[in-house]
Symmetry: C2
Subunit: 725 residues, 2 copies
């Protein structure tokens, strides 16, 4: 693919004016036949349509041409359903003819074995060497529902045609159409792309396209793997820039899922933790199950989330369900609104005396016999100035009474911009459910799922507010700064502690004063100049885990102890690692007592590039996995946020009588580590600063040990004797 | 209520032979009228029915009697729908007449204000003084669905009549009927009781009844509050003894939920943490949302869970959905089965070459065009010896093709005892859904919910296995050992540390050697006899937080330091707490270094009695809430389990090169604390042993500080000078 245009214009793919069907057939059981029926009978397509089938004069009453070359005009789009062995011939002809897009329905390629993979390699070459862009193979097609045009062989196409502002970009067809069937809850999906084996066009290309077109307002995607991290980031950023939220479900959070995704679409799922971290940084709203895509997208499409975490209301005719909903709202950390006097007055005047008129509102079943109560009271709740959304559990399907309630609710919704979210809790889906759906209210199936969707909606509002408040430059992952294929050629190696710390010191990161001693005398001189107590650590190219071989002595308080340590370390290392070369001892200032030990790590994610991990040292990471992660680079805002988001933050903030730690110095260190990685593009494979000592406020933050694995010429820093400060 | 019969026989309430309707009416809009229609037209009731209405000669073509007293025979059950002010008159008459049960539909009692509460007190007195048991008031009635008999005014009664082995016991009517409507997924519910304001009969009484009757196999309950912890425990234990699992949803996990439950049914929800702990101890399966009650109960009713955590299979026609399901199965910690050669051969021979025949099985859409493939391959998966359950995501509603698949699956299920769990993932609920439902397969709505249900099913199997393996006596909460109303009358007070430790020492719990010194000389003598280093702590009835007033000195290594400490403590306490009486200093052995600090607490739950909490000291509890809780008493098995279940357990078990802690001593201490509380029934309000020092293996576990709040005569122990060991 040409690097210069990573996100192509797909308008002519989604809305072509001239289309040719290659492999056209009258057989309604064939792929070519079904695709033709969908386009000719069930679509509102009004452009040119030409058919290609060398063995037929006519199909469906239309003339057939023998091949693409002989077509009277050049198609914008060809749909291909010929057998796998013929597909590349058709693609080559199409490329030569100047066709812009090809949809390949045919399967039996990469998913079928090595032969198929070879054919896919050929396809990739055809796309790279021409202006033809390929969608598929093994794709169920593309449905431009807002224009009522289907380039798809799916017999379900005519049943899934509810227009709307949601764009859906998936890889596999099955899960994609599952989301589409949420149309039965009232979800309107304007465009569905399902990119199959993705030899050329990927999900990210369609996210970018949906970011551009005006009829799509919310983008939903379902991913097994992300092939190209750059594209994904650029696509999402385009969506954000155009004010369109992206909701994503990512498979691959467990080993079973990773294995299954590999076998299904050959996708490498990548690290779930890194994916989730990047999603958060980009404002991508991640969900846990496929139904939550529709729940969340529907809410975002219905109403913009409030920028500040405004509270919500619960309105219900069952006291039990309103208690259950309040319970779950509380558990999710969402606030319930406090009604003002006007709202309270309307509720008190309209509802029976035994109704609950606080929040949650329990109207009692009085509304089932007098639905005018809903028009009055629900509207009053929507208009309360403290209410950003109304959660409305519908506990039971009572038949006609439930229908009347639903009609009233739809009527009220038409008079208010505050979204009312019906929760259709019953397994009985009667006419009332249909009325909510037809009213565009997309009923959610359970209280728990509704609360999750509301929480995501509110959180996204807060993310947008924080982004708007951030004056800094837009987040541009380091990955984007280094074009693909330009990694350094130097092989990676593990730097010794002295080299690592020297690099950090050059990058402006404070490390303890230290120097390398090659003789006991040099060790004593260094210790005097640094000031006792000192640490002594072996410097050796062949020893990585210094403590394990007895290569570390801490807290040496005088000359005698330094000399003792010299002897002991040389003796112990000699025993534990007989062949090891000893280049000397690192003599280093000890951290003052009273600090907190943290850790800072950098790793390189295969999809998204350098990632920084921060946490407290020791058991916090091991037992509680209490870490914060960010794809680099860090903004100051993100660095501050990641320090605050670990659960152990109270150990740093001076609460409960503990000393206030030097958090500003820690944040400065995180930013400098980020800058250091940025200054060495593609060179840093791994950094492990552990522990990083964070002193009381004013005393700084310093890595006490540093392991760096990177692509540096050896030695990166000459370990000459003498003191480095 | 008579204490002697805490769980009454409710057979005549659920299956009465003679019934009278008090407040019978011809008006189909009235409660009395609707109840009559339900019983006469929609029920298969074949006992006597008599009507009472003093203002009518006839209702519904039947004779009306003026009151209960004048009825020709004594009813087993009266249903009451007269206005609230007349209800107690009817109840008194019924009691006098010897009626056994009354269902009170009428509302406007406790939920309506203080007047109603007074009427409820009268009801309680009527029940207590007679053999009449009262169900309600404010109850929607009772549905004995297996006998097709409804004593209810609900117009929904005729629509919710799917018989089955589930018993449902709820408080409120709305959520109860919501569960009932899961009948549309194929759930068969044999008996539904909804006990309303519970002046007499409670949810627990119905759990016990369902434990007794043979047609109920799984019990589902939905609770806002548990009024009587004893009853609940006894009822659940009866269910367990009879091999019937209990599935529960408990509202009140957040402050909002607690407040809403109080306003809805006046329920005090109790501590959610204690509820959950007790549920686990009793084997009650707790769920998070109401739909999960039906999901979980259905699975338990369909098949006994395997006793050892046997693995499961995933069988699906969409590769994407099977990857999603595998991902979630992995996240939940459930294992996927490894198919044996015979299964693999059938799959390989029957399915297309591009299908995935491992686990998850991706049949591909081949099964949509040839449903005989399902009969072969799904049955083979069910018969694989490693498979305990088959999870079957149904991704899309394809109409007829989906119907055929469903018919095949139902056919296969009839040939295997291994449950197949269909996940109807689509929002479109067509005929295929109905076929799964009619086939009794209770389709679940999402992959995530299905995995949760399967996880609970497997976990319950493991709980049953552990229970069967435990040779000890059955769990009998301390609460049950002390009948209600016999609490000690001595008021509670906070014991000083010396008293507390003396009580512990008497109970066989090792505490550090110590003694109380009233003079500096005594302090020195004690320190000599204990051995340095020692701690010195103030003994004062008026000081609770000793450290806060400078009343503690630790690590005193010689006589000079002890004398210094004597002076300093007296001076500092004199300044910080001028009026405090100082009874002397506690001189105590210091714990050796190298141990781990834990904490052990006991509190008294208002519903379930004494509860023990265990965790690691310091940040573990504060930041990570990493504690284990059990309602007392502890069995050895539970004590072991609670030490192992904290996330910080690796700090005790010698992993990663840390010293192995004296876990046996710790477990012994937990058991002794449990025994200590048991030996003082109702006397201990609170114990806070923090820290409890746990030494390296062989060095024991000792509380270093102890605060006990209890109902002890003062002083419980005389703080005489001298050394206590």
């Amino acid at each position: 693919m040409p690097q210069e245009n990573p996100l192509p214009d797909l308008s002519l793919l989604c809305s072509p004016k001239v289309v040719a069907m290659i492999g056209a057939s009258d057989d309604p059981a064939s792929i070519g036949g079904r695709a033709l029926v969908n386009l000719m009978q069930h679509s509102a397509y009004d452009g040119e349509l030409m058919l290609v089938n060398p063995r037929r004069e006519q199909v469906a009453g239309m003339r057939c041409w023998p091949d693409v070359a002989s077509l009277p005009i050049t198609p914008d789009l060809v749909m291909i359903s010929v057998p796998a062995v013929h597909v590349n011939t058709v693609l080559r002809q199409s490329a030569a003819r100047g066709v812009r897009f090809a949809i390949v329905f045919t399967s039996g390629f990469g998913e079928a074995g090595p032969e198929g993979k070879k054919l896919e390699d050929e396809m990739r070459a055809i796309a790279a060497g021409s202006s033809l862009r390929i969608y598929g193979p093994n794709s169920p097609g593309l449905c431009n529902i807002n224009e009522k045009v289907g380039f798809t062989f799916s017999p379900s196409f005519p049943h899934d045609l509810r227009r709307g502002p949601i764009g859906l970009a998936t890889q596999g067809g099955g899960l994609g159409r599952n989301v589409l069937q949420a149309m039965d809850r009232g979800l309107g999906i304007g465009l569905w792309c399902s990119s199959g084996n993705e030899v050329d066009l990927q999900v990210s290309d369609f996210i970018a396209h949906m970011a551009n077109v005006p009829d799509i307002e919310v983008i939903v995607t379902l991913l097994e793997g992300i092939k190209d991290g750059r594209k994904f980031i650029l696509a999402v950023q385009r969506a954000t820039a155009n004010g369109k939220p992206v909701v994503a479900l990512k498979v691959g959070r467990s080993a079973y899922g990773q294995r299954a995704a590999l076998s299904h679409t050959g996708s490498i799922t990548g690290s779930a933790e890194v994916n989730s971290a990047l999603f958060k940084q980009l404002g991508v709203i991640e969900v846990d199950d496929i139904d939550e895509l529709a729940d969340t997208a529907a809410l975002l499409a219905r109403a913009r989330p409030p920028r500040a975490g405004k509270p919500v209301a619960i309105y219900c005719s069952s006291g039990g369900a309103s208690a259950l909903a309040a319970d779950m709202v509380g558990l999710a950390g969402i606030r319930l609104a406090t009604f003002d006097a006007a709202t309270t007055q309307v509720l008190a005047e309209s509802l029976p005396s035994y109704a609950a008129i606080g929040n949650p509102v329990d109207t009692t079943t009085a509304v089932l016999t007098d639905d005018t109560l809903i028009d009055k009271t629900l509207l009053a709740v929507c208009r309360d100035p403290d209410v950003s959304l109304v959660l409305m559990p519908v506990t039971i399907d009572y038949g006609d009474a439930t229908v009347k309630v639903a009609e009233s609710v739809v009527r009220v919704q038409a008079q208010s911009l505050v979204p009312i979210v019906p929760v259709w809790m019953s397994s009985r889906q009667g006419e009332g459910h249909r009325i909510y759906a037809e009213g565009g209210m997309v009923p959610v199936a359970t209280v728990g799922k509704a609360v999750k969707a509301v929480k995501r909606w509110l959180d996204h509002g807060q993310w947008l507010a924080a982004r708007a408040a951030d004056a800094g430059p837009a987040f541009e992952p380091l990955l984007l700064r280094m074009p693909a294929g330009r990694e350094p050629v130097t092989p990676a190696r593990t730097l010794n502690e002295y080299e690592g710390k020297a690099l950090l010191r050059r990058a402006g990161i404070a490390v303890p004063d230290s120097g390398v001693a090659r003789t006991p005398d040099q060790a004593l001189q260094l210790a005097e100049r640094i000031g006792y107590p000192v640490a002594a650590k072996i410097v050796s190219a062949s020893v990585t885990h210094k403590s394990d071989v007895g290569g570390v002595a801490l807290g040496l308080v005088d000359a005698a102890q330094v000399l003792d340590a010299w002897d002991r370390i040389h003796r112990d290392v000699g025993k534990a690692a007989p062949g090891a070369t000893i280049d000397g001892l690192l003599i280093e200032a000890m951290a003052r007592s009273g600090g907190v030990e943290t850790l800072v790590g950098v790793s390189r994610d295969t999809v998204f590039g350098p990632v920084l991990t921060f946490g407290l040292g020791g058991v916090h990471v091991e037992l509680f996995h209490d870490v914060a992660r960010r794809v680099l680079p860090l903004s100051r805002q993100e660095a501050e946020a990641m320090v605050r988001e670990i659960r152990a933050y109270p150990l740093l903030d001076g609460s409960r009588g503990r000393p206030l730690a030097d958090v500003p110095a820690l944040i400065g260190l995180l930013l400098k580590v980020s800058d250091f990685v940025a200054a060495h593009p593609g060179q840093i494979d791994e950094m492990d600063l552990n522990p990083v000592w964070v002193g009381p406020l004013g005393q700084g933050a310093r890595p006490l040990d540093a392991v760096i694995v990177g692509r540096f010429a050896a030695p990166a820093v000459n370990a000459a004797p003498g003191l480095a400060r």
